[in-house]
Each structure stands twice: as structure tokens, then as C-alpha cells.
């Protein structure tokens, strides 16, 4: 429920935004990363999924031993984590981090 509200708010920022592509964009790659979680440490503060810039995360229906819902990757967003580090940095519990998948 709350997740939906936040998503709606974020979309509201959208209209009017101008996006431009850097001319040297080809020199960069967009990292594809994996999200790692330690569910038992989570206290459901909502920070990681609220502040994830790519809206990769949402709350899971599952609960840990303390009764908290931990985050999970949204269906359809599996390849959208770019390892910006926000979830790790904003998590007060050392319960989540992302790591770039090795390039083959």
C-alpha cells in the first residue's frame, strides 16, 4: 500500500523532466547488479525501497523472525539495479547491499 503511494509520487516528478544522452555514452556501460539481503537483520524501516533511485525494490510479503517485512526485487526489475549503493548506504542495519555481476 505504502509502496504504491511512493511509486505514484515518484511518477509525478516525471512530466516536464528532460533527459539527454551524453555524447560519450558509448564509453560507459550500465552495470547490471544483484541485490543481496540478510533478511534476519531487517527492521522494515522502508528506506531501501523508498530511496532506490531505479525503483528496483519493494517490500516482500514474507516476514523475518522479528515480524518485519524485508525488501525484495520487484518482478520485472531484475536487470535494473545499477549498483548505485544507495540501499546499502541508507540501510541502518547492514541488511542489504548490491554487487555488480561479473561481465562475461
Amino acid at each position: 500500500m505504502r509502496a504504491q503511494q511512493v511509486a505514484v509520487q515518484k511518477k509525478e516528478i516525471g512530466p516536464g523532466a528532460i533527459t539527454r544522452e551524453p555524447i560519450n555514452a558509448a564509453k560507459f556501460h550500465k552495470p547490471v547488479s544483484r541485490v543481496y539481503i540478510i533478511p534476519e537483520r531487517c527492521k522494515e524501516c522502508d528506506y531501501c525501497w523508498t530511496f532506490c533511485p531505479n525503483e528496483v525494490l519493494e517490500l516482500s510479503d514474507e516476514i523475518n523472525a522479528a515480524g518485519y517485512h524485508h525488501p525484495k526485487v520487484k518482478a520485472g526489475k531484475e536487470n535494473d539495479c545499477v549498483n548505485c549503493g544507495m540501499c546499502q548506504a541508507v540501510c541502518p542495519e547492514f541488511a542489504i547491499y548490491a554487487k555488480e555481476e561479473p561481465r562475461q
Binding site: 544483484r34 539481503i37 540478510i38 527492521k43 530511496f51 547491499y97 561481465r103
Partner: protein, 294 residues
């Protein structure tokens, strides 16, 4: 649109350990702090600064006082000291003078450093003791259940100011800068990258390096003052923080009212001789005179 060279992501992976675990006492997690408490974010930022620092981990020392933030030291895999209420800076001063090669960081709360320990704070800044001091400011005494303190904004409601706080709070960066610190900054728990950057800078600064970190305290302060959820205060910090490194410090008192802005930044970064340097010079001067044995 995924090319064959680019790896696939995937759903989250459940693991037993965090990549920061070597730097923390992970066996003690989950920590004791409330859901959404900003202290854990500060610990994370400090841990990442520790990982980046060239200073060997053995020389990094963490010292805390008493209260919620006082528990930080116990979660760091360093030589750590959980001392008495208000006295962490005085404790650190002794250690820093005895062992100037150590990189000592005091992490404690606003009541701890700014109220009961206020005298130690201003005098350590005056002496310019070469230590780092992080004050996690959650505007009230959290561990004892949410009483007002020396940083509680005017008018704010707490369990001991049920009709609104009638005390004007300290403007902490202004105070510490006036007292003489080499480095003075203020960030919030929402400024996760700036926190780590400021920590890294503080480890380089010679002299008293001070940072105030505004932090949500959802169950005690937030609930009575317009931020019912921890997230509300984090959003407040995101939306209302104004970065101004050159701010007039006399004008940056925090009201913590949802409509008022909060000025953050690295306000002071100046060269002043540190206490340890001056003591070292003194010893050298005295010893050069030779000890006339009586």
C-alpha cells in the same frame, strides 16, 4: 534489450553476511536501535570511510558515550570504548595525548556530547585536540524514553516538555566553530554519500574535526513533532536540506519543523595547530634545554 555480453541480474539473493561485516561485530546484529533510527546509517558511513582510509585498522579507535549513539562502538570491529555519559571526548583527549599516532573517533549523541558533556566539547574544540567527533543529533534523549535536551527545538514536544519546549537549543556547528575546531560540518542521515566523504576528510584533518548528523528518532521525537514515521523525517531531510558550505553559522539553528529548511554542509575546514602538535613542541623544547638533575 540485453546483449549477450551483458550479464543478467535477477531476483535478490539471501546471504548470511554483509560485505561490511569484517569491519563490524556482525555477530551482535541485529543492533539495538529502533526501526528507522539514523544511527545505523551513520555507522555504515563510518565503516565505508574506514574501508577507504589508508590508516591501518589497528590505529583506528572508536569511543562512545552513553545512550543510543553510545552503543555504536560496540558494533565496530575496532579497539572500541563505551565510556560514561558525556565523557567520551575527555576520555578520547587522554588517549589522544598519550598516543598521538592513533586515529580516534568519538561517536555519541547530542545529549551526551552537547549537554551533559558540553563542557568537554567546547574545551576540546578550544584546545583543538586532534580527534574526530560525530554528534548524532536526534533532538532528544532517546534511550531514556524521549525527554527534551539542549538540542530540542523551541516549542517541540517531548515527554518532559509536554506543552512545548521553552528552552532555546544550541546551534551546535556555530558553537563548535566559535570554540575553535579545525573542521565543522553538518549533514543528515539522508546525506549518505556526503557523510562518508566528510568522515574521510575528518580523518585527514589535523585538529578537532566535528560533524553534527541530524537523525530521525521515530518513536520518541518524531511521533510528537510532525514526523510520525522514520521515513517522514528522512524525506524532510531530503526535501528541505539546503547545502551551503559557506553558510552564516549564526543563522543555521535547526527548528525541525516540517516547513522549515535545514542548512547542511562542510562549514569550516581550517588549519590550526592541534593540541598534540603543541604538546609535542613543548616536550621537544623542554628536553632540548636538558634536564638538570637535582
Amino acid at each position: 534489450m540485453i546483449s549477450p555480453q551483458v550479464p543478467h541480474g535477477g531476483p535478490e539473493v539471501r546471504v548470511p553476511h554483509h560485505i561490511n561485516d569484517p569491519v563490524i561485530r556482525s555477530e551482535r546484529l541485529p543492533n539495538i536501535w529502533c526501526p528507522g533510527c539514523g544511527i545505523g546509517i551513520v555507522v555504515g558511513a563510518y565503516v565505508r570511510a574506514l574501508q577507504k582510509s589508508a590508516i591501518p585498522r589497528e590505529r583506528q579507535i572508536s569511543i562512545s558515550g552513553i545512550g543510543c549513539t553510545g552503543r555504536v562502538s560496540g558494533y565496530l570491529n575496532l579497539d572500541s570504548y563505551h565510556t560514561t555519559h558525556g565523557r567520551a571526548i575527555a576520555f578520547a583527549t587522554g588517549m589522544a595525548v598519550a598516543r598521538p599516532e592513533l586515529e580516534i573517533t568519538v561517536i555519541a549523541g547530542d545529549g551526551d556530547l552537547g549537554v551533559i558533556g558540553g563542557n568537554h566539547l567546547i574545551h576540546a574544540a578550544r584546545r583543538n585536540v586532534d580527534i574526530n567527533v560525530i554528534m548524532v543529533n536526534n533532538f532528544n534523549y532517546g534511550m531514556t524514553g524521549g525527554q527534551h535536551g539542549g538540542t530540542t527545538p523551541l516549542g517541540a514536544r517531548t515527554h518532559t516538555s509536554p506543552y512545548g519546549n521553552v528552552e532555546t537549543p544550541f546551534n551546535i556547528p556555530y558553537l563548535v566553530a566559535a570554540a575553535g575546531a579545525s573542521f565543522v560540518s553538518r549533514w543528515t542521515a539522508m546525506h549518505v554519500r556526503q557523510l562518508t566523504a566528510a568522515f574521510s576528510r575528518m580523518m585527514e584533518v589535523k585538529g578537532f574535526a566535528f560533524m553534527e548528523v541530524l537523525s530521525p528518532c521515530p518513536p520518541t521525537f518524531g511521533e510528537f513533532n510532525g514526523f510520525p514515521e522514520a521515513l517522514d523525517m528522512m524525506k524532510y531531510f531530503r526535501d528541505k536540506a539546503v547545502v551551503d558550505h559557506n553558510a552564516d553559522l549564526s543563522k543555521i539553528a535547526v527548528t525541525a519543523r516540517p516547513d522549515d529548511s535545514v542548512v547542511v554542509g562542510n562549514f569550516v575546514d581550517r588549519k590550526r595547530p592541534s593540541y598534540q602538535e603543541l604538546l609535542g613542541d613543548l616536550r621537544a623544547r623542554v628536553q632540548a634545554q636538558g634536564v638538570a638533575k637535582k
